[in-house]
């Protein structure tokens, strides 16, 4: 990359959901007339979607835990990265970005207290990969009229509009201080100048990109006329700046201010705000730096007031075309819910997963419709569709004696309407009734991924005196197998690891007692896991998400609602009157 301005329409990924900063980047996009948000994804977050505004419209930006979770199609377009996580994670973030983002050109890092060794390593790997990393304590870079990476330039829409940075220009601002960079940008624009770009290097001792490198970039750029530099005492970064500026013999004017002359008034060297800001030797002092810059032909300010005057005097004031600048009305209202399942449009059309309901249901059976809506995805593998259909049919009912059906019937006979009767049945579903598929799935998943042996698994449950969900049946035994389980296994077992594991468990348990076989709940659970992994190609995180969302319970609730409704309707038809337990059906200790 020769200079920042060559990136015109960047795709950006940000590590860390830093609300104010990301929103300000999006506001900048909008204000300069970009059609789509530059920030494509946020990494290192639990949320699946992060809520932001693009102009006055609320938008959702995808969130991912790991960079590798982001679809390749997005990753291969990314040119800029922002890292706003804790110091410990900075190096990994940049390392991963370098290896996984082929078009990466620049990044900024905003973290306090990155160790010197990490900072040096940061410079080493970024130099090797030929990308520009600003930081470790940088507020970013802003290309005038182009884009904004980081908090630089301000974080509210009003600040951005007032900063005068929405129109491109020919002045480059470089600062070691993140707070002062905004002061200088404002001074430049109020003097009638406009930004080519503004860069915050950060005040650490070992910045990954050094001031002279930004100078080199600016000196090579024919569109730059003025360079404004803010530096501080400490370190020797200005020596190289002076050297290359003198060598360039350029007409471009450089203006510099070096803070820290106050340091001479302390008896022992004072550590100022930034880590680098401390002069132990003469060559680290503000006065020395001023001298070498001045000797190199840089306009060096004697004080800050003088600095402002130099900016006024020397900043190029070429007239720039006023482009169309958009408005952002504040305060912006945030929606109360995020929902991607369905929508009623202004035209009255109901859309399921974005598609007109008529079209959506035309070639889908009821179970296919339910599956798509349950997963939130329009497409599923044939294997999953078939499996879902078979399982919900098998789960539809299990006789009137089961607790949920009993409660439904009792409520019906008490004279209640369908919603109350159905609800009382559904409310019965829990750990001991209907919840076994979910529990079995969680157990199979965890044990397989922890590498637990079947024998150890069984012993663990036995030791804690807990039944294994998905194992055991009241009537079926090894010598009299459950035909439903046999059918499921025959049609759907493709030799996946979860089914294999569940069968091993059943082998161990059945050897202890003949009725401790793999039951229909356990079989459904392991087959589902294998289909999710094999046919749906979900990774571990994604499978975990399906389980955590309660998908297995959804299977049961959806199917068994049919059974409960059926029992209710029949009770109404029979109209047997209020149910009461006959005397003698309840026993207590005292009698």
């Amino acid at each position: 990359m020769k200079n920042f301005s060559e990136i015109t329409d960047p795709a950006i990924i940000v590590f860390g959901n830093h609300l104010a900063t990301i929103q300000s980047m999006l506001d900048y996009d909008y204000l300069v007339g970009r059609e789509a948000p530059s920030v494509k994804a946020v990494v290192g977050v639990q949320q699946k979607v992060c809520r932001y505004f693009f102009g006055n419209r609320e938008i959702l930006i995808k969130g991912y835990q790991e960079l590798a979770d982001i679809p390749k199609a997005i990753r291969k377009e990314v040119e800029l990265v922002g890292v706003m996580q804790s110091a410990r994670r900075v190096l990994t973030g940049i390392e991963q970005s370098i290896s996984q983002l082929p078009k990466l050109k620049a990044a900024f890092v905003f973290a306090e207290n990155v160790t010197e060794q990490d900072a040096l390593k940061l410079r080493e790997i970024s130099t090797k990969a030929r990308i520009i990393v600003l930081g470790p304590a940088s507020v970013g870079v802003l290309v005038g009229g182009g884009w904004k990476l980081g908090a630089i330039g301000g974080i509210t829409a009003t600040q951005l509009k007032d900063s005068g940075t929405l129109i491109p220009g020919d002045t480059v601002v470089v600062s070691t201080s993140g707070g002062i960079v905004n002061e200088i940008i404002n001074r430049v624009t109020h003097s009638g100048g406009r930004l080519r770009y503004g860069v915050a290097i950060g005040g650490d001792l070992w910045p990954a990109t050094k001031p002279y490198e930004i100078f080199e970039m600016a000196l090579d750029d024919p569109n730059v006329k003025t360079i404004v530099y803010f530096g501080e005492l400490g370190g020797h970064d200005e020596e190289k700046v002076a050297e290359i500026y003198a060598q360039a013999k350029t007409k471009k004017i450089a203006i510099a201010y070096i803070a820290g002359s106050i340091s001479d008034h302390f008896e022992t060297p004072q550590q100022f705000g930034h880590a680098k800001a401390m002069a132990q030797t003469e060559t680290e002092s503000a006065a020395y730096k001023k001298k070498i810059l001045s000797n190199a032909g840089v306009q060096v300010a004697s004080g800050f007031a003088d600095f402002e005057q130099l900016i006024n005097k020397f900043v190029s004031k070429t007239q720039h075309e006023q482009s169309i600048i958009k408005e952002i009305k504040e305060p912006r209202m945030s929606a109360l819910f995020v929902d991607n399942i369905s929508k009623e449009g202004d035209d009255g059309v109901v859309r399921i997963l974005g598609e007109d309901i008529l079209a959506f249901t035309k070639d889908r059976s009821l179970s296919e419709t339910a599956l798509a809506m349950f997963t939130g995805r329009k497409k599923s593998s044939e294997q999953l569709k078939e499996f879902f259909d078979v399982v919900v049919k098998l789960l539809v009912d299990h006789g009137p004696q089961v607790s949920g059906a009993v409660n439904t019937m009792i409520t019906a006979r008490a004279g209640n309407e369908l919603p109350a009767a159905l609800a009382s049945g559904l409310l019965t579903i829990g750990p001991r009734f209907g919840g076994a598929i979910d529990q079995a799935a969680q157990n199979w998943f965890k044990a397989v991924n922890d590498g637990e042996k079947a024998y150890d698994f069984v012993e663990r449950f036995a030791k804690n005196k807990i039944y294994i969900p998905g194992i055991g049946h009241r009537k079926y035994r090894v010598d009299n197998p459950d035909p439903r389980v046999q059918t499921l296994l025959k049609n759907f077992d493709q030799g996946g690891q979860y089914t294999k594991f569940a069968k091993e468990i059943a082998k161990v348990t059945a050897a202890k007692k003949a009725n401790l076989i793999l039951n229909v709940d356990g079989a459904t659970a392991c087959l589902l896991l294998d289909i999710l992994e094999g046919d749906e190609k979900l990774n571990k995180n994604q499978i975990n998400e399906v389980l955590d969302s309660g998908f297995c319970n959804a299977l049961f609730v959806f199917a068994r609602s049919v059974g409960f409704i059926a029992h209710y309707l029949e009770q109404k038809r029979l109209d047997e009157g209020l149910f009461r337990l006959p005397d003698g059906m309840v026993i207590s200790e005292e009698t």
């Binding site: 001792l205 106050i262 600095f307």
Partner: protein, 390 residues
């Protein structure tokens, strides 16, 4: 925080642990009540007693006592502590021939670790500059240098990296049959790595050559120790007229410089800054520490400058609320002494913060000026300077 010096005691302990020699020196805190018991546990023999506070030129200043018996240690400590020192080191005296004294230093640089070595070490090292061998170590096996074997150098480099040192100087250094004896050791570490070194050194081992710290400075140090934000204070002239309540590393430096440019550096009571979005309570405590400092001063006219650049993240209303609470608590003093207040600040929530400040200062009845970022930092300082000189 940035680079800090460790005590000589901790430096030698680290070297001993990693290089495999025993070190039997003890660290002495003159304020420790158990001091005599600690010293009585030492074995008989001759000792060196010295100030352990990152002080330069200790020999010339008489802060190193040689050939002391165990019983003399306490009186030495008492004597030297009268000069304002608090931390000392007592270690067994090692007899040696001065011509065996060598010099070794490791410096973290951008290009790698610079290793400096001389066979002519000791106090006269500066006179033997041409005897100094330098090499840059990047990776792999280091080359042996003088009496330093590859193996020993490797151990030192590993120690240097694992304990996040940025500077290590051993002078004089004795090497006899490959056995290492550092007679003096100075270490600077990267303080940001305190968590990473897992207790190998802690902030308790940090030493500064400054002697007296004011109560306010200690308050701010304690505050900093438990905060994720940055809070600092350094007293300049306690009897100056101008108290600085500044925010931001860059802006605070600019403002102090500007006062200097107006010839007012002698009137500055302090330098200090807060940044990294401290919370309201931290700002309240910080402001109280500063006002305490203001109250202790003898100047007739007193001015408080609350200023900073345009913040990126720090919430102006939140931080100002902390300052306002402190002002409220001290309002009687501020009013009775006609303290003037100048404010200049920008950033998130600036309108609300500035309005609250204006309201507070009006209610207390202090002469004041409250500005947003439309007034430049230089102009604010000019305004204050005119007031001071009026």
């Amino acid at each position: 925080m940035a680079r800090v010096k460790l005590s000589e005691f901790r430096a030698k302990k680290l070297l001993a642990d990693k290089l495999g020699f025993s070190y039997t020196g003890i660290s002495i805190d003159a304020e420790d009540k158990e001091l005599s018991r600690q010293i009585n546990q030492l074995s008989d023999g001759k000792y060196v007693v010295k100030v352990d506070q990152a002080t330069k030129k200790r020999n010339q200043l008489g802060l190193v006592k040689l050939n002391r018996s165990r019983n003399q240690i306490i009186s030495d400590v008492t004597e030297m502590s009268k000069k304002g020192y608090r931390y000392f080191l007592a270690e067994p005296m090692i007899e040696h021939d001065p011509k065996d004294e060598q010099f070794l230093a490791l410096v973290r640089t951008e290009g790698g670790i610079e290793i400096q070595y001389s066979e002519k070490g000791g106090v006269g090292i500066e006179g033997h500059a041409d005897s100094l061998q330098r090499m840059i170590y990047l990776m792999g096996k280091p080359k042996a240098i003088g009496a330093l074997s590859t193996e020993n150098l490797e151990k030192i480099i590993r120690l240097f990296n694992s304990e996040h040192m940025v500077y290590l100087e051993i002078n004089p250094l004795l090497i006899e049959d490959g056995k290492f004896t550092p007679l003096d050791a100075a270490v600077e570490v990267d303080s940001t790595a305190e968590l990473a070194v897992q207790g190998a050194w802690t902030s308790q081992d940090f030493r500064s050559s400054r002697l007296e710290k004011t109560a306010s400075e200690k308050m701010v140090e304690d505050l900093q120790a438990v905060s994720v934000s940055a809070l600092s204070l350094r007293v300049m002239n306690p009897n100056g007229q101008i108290l600085l309540m500044l925010s931001g590393g860059g802006a605070s430096l600019v403002i102090a410089d500007e006062f200097d440019a107006h010839g007012l550096s002698d009137e500055l009571i302090n330098y200090g800054e807060y940044s990294g979005a401290p919370n309201e309570d931290e700002l309240y405590q910080y402001s109280l520490a500063l006002i305490k400092l203001l109250k202790s001063g003898q100047a007739k006219k007193k001015i408080i400058v609350i200023a900073g650049g345009v913040a990126n993240f720090t919430d102006i209303a939140v931080t100002f609320r902390g300052i306002i609470r402190a002002f409220d608590k001290e309002k009687k003093y501020l009013k009775d002494n006609k303290v003037g207040v100048f404010v200049r600040r920008g950033g998130p929530n600036q309108q609300k913060g500035l309005a609250m400040m204006e309201d507070c200062l009006t209610k207390i009845g202090l002469a004041h000026k409250v500005h947003g970022p439309d007034i430049s930092l230089a102009k604010l300082v000019k305004e204050v300077a005119e007031e001071v000189k009026a």
